[in-house]
């Protein structure tokens, strides 16, 4: 447990039923073990995502089986499938509707970079053109085990987030905005073609 007390003393207290930890540790531990994804599947990867929640692969072990239909109640948006240009403004809008802290997993080659459909006139070349992505899971589609690995990486990322200091994440920073501009439908393409948010 991550705090500045001597480890042996911590263990001895723990054996006697007194657990000592830091606020940051327990806050991150609670969040990382109860990530609630949003019910959001676009294409074929969504089926492997559903298979991950089913009996064989069981996402429930990770606290993440509670898929919320409303973005306000969800922590994680798993962009599973090809994001088309027609769908992109709605993805950004849904991301904006999610309450902080919020995370994005780009699952599958299409969400990462357009995938096999990259040459299409209606295909967005990756969702990270508009919203920030935390974990990229390659595959076409990624196996359920790959999605579990991605969730574990996200859990690790959440556990390592600081509450204070300059490295703190966006949701711990009052000044930072969590809304990203929603693109419009233009005559040939979306306007703008990407968000400059780096």
């Amino acid at each position: 447990m991550n705090c500045s007390m001597d480890q042996e003393l911590q263990n001895e207290l723990s054996n006697r039923g007194v657990h000592v930890t830091s606020l940051e540790w327990i806050y991150n531990w609670g969040r990382s073990n109860s990530i609630w994804p949003m019910q959001f599947g676009l294409a074929c990867c969504a089926i492997e995502m559903i298979a991950t929640t089913m009996a064989r692969y069981d996402l429930a072990r990770f606290g993440a089986e509670v898929y919320r239909p409303s973005p306000r109640q969800a922590d994680l948006m798993i962009v599973a499938g090809t994001v088309t240009k027609k769908m992109a403004p709605l993805v950004v809008r849904l991301y904006n509707q999610m309450a902080e802290p919020k995370y994005v997993i780009a699952m599958g080659a299409c969400a990462i970079s357009g995938g096999p459909f990259r040459d299409g006139y209606n295909v967005l070349k990756g969702i990270d053109l508009y919203i920030p992505v935390d974990v990229y899971i390659p595959g076409c589609p990624p196996r359920p085990e790959a999605l579990l690995d991605g969730i574990m990486k996200l859990q690790k990322k959440i556990r390592e987030q600081k509450l204070l200091g300059p490295d703190r994440p966006r949701h711990a920073d009052r000044e930072a905005s969590c809304d990203y501009p929603v693109p419009d439908y233009g005559p040939n393409d979306l306007i703008p073609t990407c968000n400059a948010y780096t």
Partner: protein
């Protein structure tokens, strides 16, 4: 008779633009727990009753047809996996059949048997998952779906052992199949088929006389036989309306005429019939599987003189179709004797089965709309391509 005035929709006015404050215009989707993908419906409601419904497509339009015009015939086979992403092997078969018809490529007998076995396994797992999703649409989220996916995983194990992938199998080739069955595969497949009737009995016991399911599906989303034929509906939704049209029996493609199986037909054309048809079709698929697995001959799976890469079919065109689990899946190819198709067209069963969605939903409650959509059994990869 046209029931909907398209000018009435849009953000300009509630209630179809005529200022009627009783009516509520609602946009269901494209992100919605029950829309089977990114499908959007603009519905106008009078209380809970549907007054108008307008589907909006294109949220998964991935330009498969355009991409296919710029690459070889072989390179399009993995893209066909991603059309109806549950049934990749049926999609493969429809496409390779179209190319074989276009170019006159013969298929060895063993390959034909393997194709039938894989197509019927695909039909089994598609209809199984349909049951799970239909119950989810009715509000019983998770229960039937868990059972369905448990059973589906067994079939996906077979696909993975044979093709290397659970879903995107990419297994058929022009003139046969990609690789031989691994050792032990047939025994495992026989075990899966032998264990299926027990699962179907379990699902029938759970579903068929379930009071809530009967109340929510009987009389909901009725479509008549004449309208179904004129609207081009195919697959279980057509047969539930009472029309005896199964492409396996009509075209007798592959070696389907060697097997004895029946085609279940419905009477009322409602959601309950569509569900029952699929349960009965699963039993018929098991019969076909048992016969095909018993008669599987030895031999090559691809004739050695068939050119698969850089195929340049002769100039001309061909339309070929199969009875995919969702309906008639057809491919229309125009060749100009080059290595790339001049025109590559997919006839999507899911899109055309949605032709009567509005008519089926008028007068129903908003909750019934989800059940009706679920019973049509669409996949957006196929609707939008």
């Amino acid at each position: 008779m046209r029931l909907v005035e398209p000018e009435g929709f849009g953000a300009n006015g509630v209630g179809g633009g005529d200022g009627d404050e009783r009516l509520l215009e609602l946009s269901m989707g494209p992100q919605h727990p029950s829309t089977h993908g990114v499908f959007r419906m603009n519905v106008v409601l009078d209380g809970e009753t549907v007054v108008r419904l307008q589907p909006v497509f294109g949220y998964l339009h991935r330009n498969h047809e355009k991409i296919a015009e710029s690459q070889s015939y072989l390179a399009s086979i993995p893209y066909t996996d991603r059309l109806d992403y549950f049934c990749s092997l049926s999609n493969n078969w429809a496409y390779v059949r179209a190319v074989e018809t276009l170019a006159g490529i013969p298929v060895p007998e063993r390959a034909e048997y393997i194709r039938v076995i894989l197509a019927e396994l695909t039909r089994l797992q598609n209809h199984t998952v349909f049951l799970g999703f239909l119950l989810g649409d009715m509000g019983g989220w998770g229960t039937a779906l868990m059972y369905a996916f448990r059973q589906r995983e067994e079939i996906l194990d077979l696909f993975e052992a044979l093709t290397g992938s659970r879903m995107m199998c990419n297994y058929m080739r022009f003139g046969g199949c990609r690789c031989e069955l691994p050792s032990g595969w047939m025994e495992q497949a026989r075990a899966v088929v032998a264990g299926y009737p027990a699962f179907l009995d379990e699902m029938e016991q759970l579903l068929v006389e379930n009071e809530i399911l009967v109340a929510r599906t009987q009389g909901v989303g009725v479509v008549s036989a004449e309208k179904a034929v004129n609207a081009g509906l195919t697959g279980p939704i057509l047969r539930a309306a009472g029309v005896d049209y199964d492409i396996r029996k009509v075209d007798r493609y592959g070696i389907y005429d060697r097997f004895s199986y029946r085609v279940p037909l419905g009477e009322h054309g409602d959601t309950y019939d569509r569900m029952m048809i699929r349960l009965l079709e699963m039993r018929e698929s098991l019969k076909i599987l048992q016969q095909a697995m018993a008669d599987l001959p030895e031999g090559p799976i691809l004739h050695s003189d068939v050119q698969v890469r850089n195929l340049c079919p002769p100039e001309g065109e061909a339309y070929c179709r199969v009875e995919a689990p969702k309906g008639e899946l057809g491919f229309y190819l125009i060749s100009d004797n080059t290595a790339r198709p001049y025109r590559y067209r997919i006839r999507p069963p899911s899109l055309i089965n949605l032709t009567l969605l509005e008519e089926m939903s008028l007068g129903m409650k908003i909750a019934d709309v989800m059940v009706i959509l679920g019973s049509i059994d669409i996949v957006l990869g196929e609707v939008d391509r």
